[in-house]
């Protein structure tokens, strides 16, 4: 340090450059810090309010440091809060979402892996056209498919049920899962498949013994993408289900729309967090894969 100070004292030019570099660093961290604050504060506000007393929130506003601490809001939000005349809290909707998301994620990922396998390694006349058609599903707005789905769910007797939503999400998710897996499998060398076929391995054997063991990276990306996407989905949930069958996103909107209880910010904050926790958990545990899915889904 002493040497450095001495050198700077002897060399005014270096001192100026050093000061400029310091200024630039301060500026960089200052701006980043400011933005980080803007991103963090809403989450912080919700977390803190879920532990504060309602009277205190009413007095000091949503954005203020907590002066009280309690878990009542969490219990109430989970177990007993009334949403549209049904006083069971969020737990029913939480499990609706869970029982919708897990099967739909697994089934659509599995089907996507098989589609990708066929479309990259067992090409047939028109398979490229078929793939292009499937890609359209990535861009199609959900509104387009509302009426057809309503019709199909009605015919299947699955209207207003979690199972119906599982079916919808399996099919709607196919475009993305197929896209992810097909683009990944295309880089698996064809010679590997050829060699296996010469050794007498068939369609399924190659899939199970060669393709699937190579797949974990893309399967993790796909599962994370599907899980967060389906958990956070609102349109199909609110259109195809009502009352006790709704997923948590639809229940959250119903909860906060309830005019009379509109000011119970403590309970609503806890409810919002219950709805946000699973995808946040997935994000914090598998962030790398989450980002990879995001960039792949966007650029391809």
């Amino acid at each position: 340090m002493a040497d450095l100070a001495l050198a700077q004292a002897l060399d005014p030019e270096a001192a100026v450059a050093g000061r400029r570099r310091l200024m630039a660093r301060v500026l960089i961290y200052g701006i980043l810090g400011l933005f980080a604050l803007v991103y963090i504060v809403p989450l912080l506000v919700v977390v803190m309010n879920s532990f504060r007393d309602q009277p205190e929130i009413a007095r000091n506003g949503l954005i203020s440091l907590p002066q009280s601490f309690g878990l009542d809001a969490w219990w109430s939000a989970w177990d007993s809060y009334c949403i549209g005349g049904n006083c069971e809290g969020m737990k029913r909707y939480f499990f609706n979402s869970l029982w919708m998301t897990i099967p739909a994620t697994l089934i659509s990922t599995m089907l996507g892996a098989m589609n990708g396998y066929v479309l990259s390694k067992w090409r047939f006349r028109g398979s490229e056209i078929l793939f292009t058609c499937m890609l359209l599903g990535v861009f199609m707005p959900g509104q387009i498919s509302l009426m057809p789905w309503a019709f199909i769910l009605g015919k299947l007797g699955l209207s207003n049920s979690v199972v119906g939503l599982v079916v919808v999400h399996c099919v709607q998710g196919l475009s993305f899962t197929t896209l992810f897996c097909r683009n990944y499998y295309i880089s698996v060398p064809d010679d590997l498949i050829k060699a296996a076929r010469i050794d007498g391995a068939g369609f399924w054997r190659i899939f199970w013994k060669i393709i699937l063991p190579l797949s974990p990276p893309i399967l993790i990306v796909t599962v994370i993408w599907q899980f967060t996407g389906i958990w956070n989905e609102y349109l199909f949930g609110v259109v195809f289900t009502s009352g006790s069958q709704q997923p948590i996103t639809a229940a959250l909107v119903a909860l906060t729309a309830g005019g009379t209880t509109a000011s119970a910010y403590d309970v609503m904050s806890a409810a919002v967090l219950i709805g946000a926790l699973p995808p946040l958990l997935v994000y914090f545990l598998g962030g790398k894969y989450f980002v990879r899915g995001l960039t792949q889904g966007a650029i391809k």
């Binding site: 919700v46 861009f139 707005p141 956070n232 609102y234 349109l235 996103t249 909107v253 906060t256 960039t295």
Partner: protein, 247 residues
């Protein structure tokens, strides 16, 4: 039969509000999130400490649903509990901030929240792009004495131009599909001031049972998507072919 549904759609004042909003929202939302995303990406690219912490902070809103974001921000915009109350409690007693409850400005509340939610996404793509730029050309520029600002403007950003286009296309596509965010944040109001095409379709089909006109509106959404996506995919195919020939 015929085009009646389309005529009555375009004669409807609410539909006019909806697609005017879509244009306004798309413009500000796409530019806003790209500007913020690019700024954050460039700052993070300056060899900052704890890079993954910054990235995690800027990206977490993407893991959360628009429903959650919209709900929380509607509280923050609420004059009697959110930002306005905060500033008044700090001593500025006649401060007024009622963005989401003002017919004229509610759309900007939607825009701000949208940018907040998705600029991390632009940041991730830009950062990936910045990292893929060949280090030698950056070094060459620095040896020539170019400042950091100039290096970015003249050397690095032109190289990642395709990423700008990709981010813009993806964001416009999000904008056209915007539904959840508005449903949770303003519910299309106050009045009809933040109606979007997707909200309009939903209302017509499932609240009023005007399925024909609702379907016509949904088709218009599809047309809007096609207008953006068809030229873009043709461009991408064309560029790949050209690169294939050159390489």
């Amino acid at each position: 039969m015929g085009l009646e549904n389309y005529f009555s759609l375009w004669a409807n004042r609410r539909w006019n509000v909806a697609y005017t909003n879509l244009f306004l929202f798309s413009g500000f939302y796409v530019l806003g999130s790209m500007a913020v995303g690019l700024l954050l990406a460039i700052l993070i690219d300056q060899r900052v400490r704890a890079e993954s912490v910054w990235r995690t902070i800027f990206l977490y809103p993407l893991a959360v649903s628009f429903i959650v974001t919209g709900t929380v921000w509607s509280w923050l915009y609420n004059p009697s509990s959110g930002i306005e109350l905060l500033v008044r409690n700090l001593g500025w007693s006649n401060f007024s901030f009622a963005l989401a409850s003002d017919r004229q400005y509610a759309i900007y509340a939607v825009i701000i929240t949208g940018v907040w939610q998705s600029s991390g996404f632009a940041m991730a793509l830009f950062l990936a792009g910045l990292r893929s730029v060949d280090g030698d050309i950056i070094k060459a520029a620095q040896i020539d004495g170019a400042s950091t600002f100039r290096t970015y403007r003249r050397v690095i950003l032109p190289v990642i131009a395709p990423i700008f286009l990709a981010v813009a296309v993806v964001q416009i596509q999000f904008a056209i599909k915007t539904f959840d965010l508005v449903a949770a944040l303003t519910r299309g109001g106050p009045g009809i001031s933040t109606t979007f095409p997707a909200i309009y379709v939903y209302d017509l089909m499932f609240q009023r049972g005007q399925i024909g006109e609702g379907a016509a509106a949904a088709m218009m959404m599809l047309v809007a998507l096609a207008v953006v996506l068809v030229p873009y995919s043709l461009f991408v195919v064309w560029r790949r072919r050209r690169e294939g020939q050159n390489g």
